[in-house]
Symmetry: C2
Subunit: 396 residues, 2 copies
């Protein structure tokens, strides 16, 4: 079905990511929301609907009913205000629904905000809460003792078996993303690491070690989306966006070295944008674990299946490579407040396209892609952004 | 902004509501979803997007990421599958967003499903989880020791003070809804009570007693929404739908005897449908507490402010009254699996309009209204349904 019009990102706003003992969930969200309003040059009265992405605020902080809790604190009352949850793709899902609503002409101006406050809980409880994104049913993977590191360890092990991916390839993702995050003033962990260090991190779930895992973080990110004709000619446009789903339990999937939801979302987003993987200049990819970035580069069509590990090791996805991936530092270095990540990726892509990414700025930054994953591949949102509309405007 | 087309309810499906020790959340959801598919005569492959309403599944059952967890079990993979949360209006919010997507032409056919599994937790923990829908921040109402019964007790006390509402008026809501629920084979509590009994229930939060409070329930409800031109001429149409928001904390509101979010959602839904309160033949209203039904009849414009208690006491909202309210038994007798309630109300309205409500069938059933409330009025969804389109098709 044809969409009516193109949609642009009128403003972006992000908090630093990190462990902030003195900040509660709402204060982070309000900071990001106000920054996005200021960046877009509009006031809270102009926002017609509020789309909140949050994975597990009630479990981390006891506060539920978070959408009006946050939107009223931003000065917005009366409007539809709703929380969207799709595990770690929660704010990606909120963004996708908000984009469709503006593209279809339901609203002219909306805010999408992602937030998570995780460091208020001890690590074992954080792990337990994150397990909720997998299959917690009787006889399911979590009842069997899995955690997300162990699920992605199985994915890594299988990828090694099928394609000859090496432990060094995983380490190369960590080295690259730490190097990129070192240039990001808002990153949680600004620390250069060597391949040697990345190979010898504290064991977590073999073959994954500490350096293969993303961070436990507090943070928020927001965007204002508007009909493009209400924005200036330089506003970054959403060229394509798509969300797809798949089985939650790893053991229900036919293969675990590829994620059909990523492939499906990518196919639809590329089709809507009228571009292919070869047209993408740079990407922010959901590297919750190093292996996840490797698999995603394959599922997004950036490299042939099985070549993701070799590509990162060979520098193809480095800052100065053919297709820079996670110039922001990724979830690995920038941080991963799960409900904020999807919108944060969009903010990072927009800053690159605008040419205002500071030390992180890439040479080629015309068209960028953000890929936000939920669980072990059961949810995925892919968003393609660029300076000028090239899309066909179809929802496939 | 004008919507493109009208939307109809192609199929409905509900589980019984109750305490089902042998049923998990997903099995309830799958039962309701499959019934809605069967009722609509389509298969899972025809569903283009899945909208799940659920308030607190992760806290009640540990399972999060519920949308693909349920949609894949219904045989739907690949499609956008997202959970919507707006406290007790969660599935109302899911319905509203799904309705807009079909009305705007984004999708032709979608499923909206609401579910909650509550009885697996002991009552004190249930109360604690429900508190998440209020303000749990430092210095907030919940930190001060409130619970939802105590918040609505304050609303009742103030309503009595301002308008002369009597304890007998609250009791009359309970007597009416229990009498209605006695006719509903799927109700959780089929038990006739007298005014005397309703006045002398076990104290909960003065002036509310046990009979003023809705139930802790397990249950699910689902609808298939389609573009009207894909449905038969007899399909029940969504004439109007709107969602609105307000402050979460009771102490932030200017008045607590009226809910601006309900008034706003009602105004927008009436405007979209091109009808007024006088055109509504019957309503399903969010009677989480007896006082909530009284306030809602005022905010929806069915009676003058302050007359809600008198109206129910005088029988105006009884089955044979001027405007029957909660012919299903309401949350009070039918049960209140919070995330399921919004869609369950829509199912009950559709059955009345179809004329297939069995012993519950009302004489006048042309246009029905469903009102779904979240928290102490911070979220509200109002939906107006009828056999033929009268709407202007505008989103206000």
């Amino acid at each position: 079905m044809a969409l009516r019009r193109t949609v642009s990102v009128a403003g972006i706003g992000k908090t630093k990511f990190g462990a902030f003992a003195d900040r509660d969930l709402r204060s982070l969200a309000v900071e990001a929301g106000n920054k996005a309003l200021a960046d877009s040059g509009i006031g809270p009265d102009d926002i017609q609907a509020f789309y909140l992405g949050n994975f597990a605020g009630p479990e981390f902080t006891t506060q539920n009913h978070l959408a009006p809790y946050i939107s009223t604190a931003l000065g917005m009352t009366g409007i539809p205000s709703t929380r969207f949850e799709a595990a770690c793709a929660s704010s990606g899902a909120a963004f996708f629904h908000a984009f469709l609503a503006v593209a279809a002409g339901i609203y002219d101006t909306v805010m999408v905000l992602g937030v998570e406050k995780m460091t208020c809980q001890p690590v074992p409880r954080v792990t337990e809460i994150l397990c909720g994104a997998g299959d917690c049913g009787a006889g399911g993977e979590m009842a069997a003792g899995s955690t997300f590191p162990s699920l992605f360890a199985m994915i890594a092990r299988r990828h090694m078996h099928e394609y000859g991916t090496l432990r060094e390839h995983l380490a190369a993702v960590a080295v690259k993303n730490h190097a990129n995050g070192f240039l990001n003033p808002d990153a949680q962990l600004r620390k250069l690491i060597t391949l040697e260090q990345a190979l010898n991190g504290r064991p977590i779930a073999d073959p994954l070690n500490l350096y293969d895992c993303s961070l436990v973080s507090d943070g928020a990110a927001a965007v204002v989306l508007r009909a493009s004709d209400l924005c200036g000619p330089d506003a970054v446009q959403v060229l394509g966006a798509a969300q797809a789903s798949d089985y939650v339990a790893l053991d229900q999937k036919r293969t675990i070295t590829t994620f059909p939801a990523v492939q499906e979302a990518a196919f639809r987003a590329y089709s809507m944008a009228g571009v292919g993987p070869g047209d993408i200049d740079f990407a922010e990819i959901h590297d919750c674990f190093t292996i996840a970035e490797i698999v995603a580069t394959e599922d997004l069509g950036f490299v042939e299946p099985g070549r993701g590990g070799f590509a990162v090791f060979d520098g193809e996805t480095s800052r100065d490579g053919r297709l820079p991936v996670n110039a922001s530092g990724g979830l690995k270095s920038k941080g991963h407040p799960v409900g904020a990540t999807g919108v944060a990726q969009v903010c990072d892509v927009v800053r690159q396209i605008r040419g205002t990414a500071g030390d992180m700025q890439l040479a080629k930054h015309g068209i960028g892609l953000a890929q936000n994953l939920g669980g072990s591949g059961a949810s995925c949102v892919v968003t393609i952004l660029g300076q000028s509309g090239r899309g066909e405007g179809r929802v496939l």
